[in-house]
């Protein structure tokens, strides 16, 4: 096992608003951990800190024992952290194959032939069930297909840790099942650690080993799914204070 990523005392504020306040957390290798909390709790900000979009004002982040607090996005990506977005962001003016190729190119070595990269990209598209869409512009895909494409592009960077930001949002129940299947395959076949923001509670409670709950930038609870759902603080954060 062993710890793959660890954050200590992470703080990030925007103007007067502290989005993430002294958050400590860690993920063990191979774990799937859910990150939940009401809107504005700082979940996406925490992901942004982990992927180098923002840098924390206080606190440190280490990945596989190496400090990554002030590294740039592309450096963090090359070390092995990839993410997907709540609102999908494929490169819309490029084909599906090119989208995945960018992830492969991003790994760094420009010398390995573009042909071998093409083969690898095709395999990844097949892995996320997008075969036949290679030449399609990303713009023409449906929402779930765009999400799959984004997943393939993230996988193309060969991550060890995958950050998923509300992958299930906007999907219908049967699509949710497909997405969950894909995540399970990624976890078991590719042996990836997954950190996962989700509002679809049923799904995340069932799939996660552990849940971390944020509220107004602070970590209010961490534990096994069944512990978390029954915690009074968590219920309060979601439903408001009880009068009793």
């Amino acid at each position: 096992m062993g710890v793959i990523i660890e954050g200590k005392g992470l703080t990030k504020s925007f103007g007067g608003l502290t989005a993430v306040k002294k958050v400590d957390f860690h993920l063990n290798k191979g774990e799937i951990v859910g990150l939940i909390g009401p809107n504005g709790a700082g979940k996406t900000t925490l992901f942004n800190l982990m992927s180098g979009v923002y840098h924390p004002e206080e606190g440190t982040l280490s990945f596989n024992g190496m400090e990554i607090t002030s590294l740039k996005s592309f450096e963090i990506c090359r070390l092995g952290i990839a993410r997907t977005f709540q609102i999908v962001r494929p490169f819309l003016k490029m084909s599906c194959l090119e989208n995945v190729l960018i992830g492969i190119i991003g790994r760094g070595d420009p010398r390995e032939g573009i042909k071998a990269k093409g083969e690898e990209a095709r395999k990844l598209l097949k892995f996320v069930s997008l075969e036949g869409h290679e030449k399609n512009s990303a713009n023409n895909l449906t929402l779930i297909e765009k999400k799959r494409l984004e997943m393939a592009r993230a996988l193309a960077t060969q991550p060890r840790l995958l950050l998923l930001d509300e992958v299930l949002a906007g999907l219908n129940p049967s699509e949710i099942l497909q997405a969950l299947e894909l995540i399970e395959v990624i976890r078991t076949q590719l042996k990836m650690t997954i950190f996962w923001i989700e509002h679809v509670m049923g799904a995340i409670m069932k799939a996660s080993d552990r849940i971390i709950v944020l509220d107004q930038g602070e970590k209010i609870k961490e534990g096994r799914p069944e512990e978390v759902v029954n915690d009074s603080k968590v219920i309060e954060a979601y439903l408001g204070e009880s009068d009793a």
Partner: protein
């Protein structure tokens, strides 16, 4: 008839060179949102470099040409590292910096090379009979084919190579490209160097035909901006079509209306485009 054909041919030759220069501007705008006002100065420097390399140092003209372009590429990279990189995130600063730089470089050219127009030696001499219709200078014919070669290489670079794909990804979504591991700072630097090198390429190809002077730089920049606006921001195809249209119109206008008004035609095009189709011929309409 043969006169008209010759003016048309002139227009096409100049048009292709216009296109090269404009692609240089378009690349830099598309990727970094930086408008390089010093574009024309880089063109002029390239012309002087190729003149001095071949005349003062005796380098063969066909070797002086790539050497000058390479020097301009290095200057471009130096500019990006020292002056442009600190301005990322605020387009206004880069606008001011490149504007100031254009004035500084123009005066530097005046100081270093003097005010006299200079013309690198022709690579070839003589003229060729085109289809029995008219005679056309070999120098211009060679310039045309070299320009076509440069254009094809650029298209190949952008459409087919890893560098081109990174460029396109960054121009669509910089943050996302960085998040999937593209080193956007390195691509910025190389792209700026490439944009500068294209100004240089246009300079070395055209200077044996039209001599360079330090004061000629602003019309080079303006031409490139007109072509980019006409073709549509961010479109390579637009740069080629726009460059040809401007080249042909300028030459026909100069021949049949007045040479004095040569540069007016560009502005007329610019105004018409801005009034009727501000997104250009191949650009994307944005709300």
């Amino acid at each position: 008839m043969s006169e008209l054909l010759m003016y048309l041919t002139n227009g096409i030759v100049i048009g292709v060179i216009n296109a090269i220069s404009a692609i240089g501007v378009s690349l830099i705008v598309g990727i970094m949102k930086v408008v390089n006002f010093a574009h024309g100065e880089l063109y002029i420097f390239a012309g002087y470099f190729s003149y001095h390399l071949s005349v003062s140092l005796g380098v063969p003209p066909l070797l002086a040409m790539p050497l000058s372009i390479f020097l301009i590429f290095l200057i471009g990279i130096g500019m990006e590292r020292t002056l442009i990189r600190p301005t990322y995130g605020d387009e206004m600063y880069s606008l001011i910096i490149t504007f100031v730089l254009s004035i500084v470089l123009q005066n530097a050219a005046l100081l270093i090379f003097g005010p006299y127009p200079q013309k690198p030696p022709n690579w070839v001499t003589g003229a060729m009979n085109i289809f029995g219709l008219y005679h056309y200078g070999n120098q211009r014919i060679l310039s045309f084919f070299i320009s076509i070669g440069v254009l094809l290489s650029i298209f190949y670079l952008i459409k087919r190579t890893w560098f081109g794909k990174s460029i396109r990804a960054i121009s669509q979504d910089r943050e996302m490209a960085a998040l999937v591991g593209v080193d956007h700072l390195k691509v910025n630097m190389l792209a700026f160097g490439l944009g500068a090198a294209l100004a240089g390429a246009a300079g070395v190809v055209l200077s044996p035909i039209f001599p360079v002077t330090p004061s000629g730089s602003s019309s080079v920049s303006l031409n490139a901006f007109i072509v980019v606006v006409l073709g549509g921001m961010g479109s390579l195809k637009g740069c080629v079509v726009g460059g040809l249209i401007l080249g042909i119109l300028e030459n026909l206008g100069a021949a049949y209306i007045s040479t004095m008004y040569r540069h007016i035609f560009g502005f007329i095009i610019l105004i018409l485009v801005l009034v009727f189709r501000p997104w250009g011929l191949f650009g994307q309409k944005t709300q």
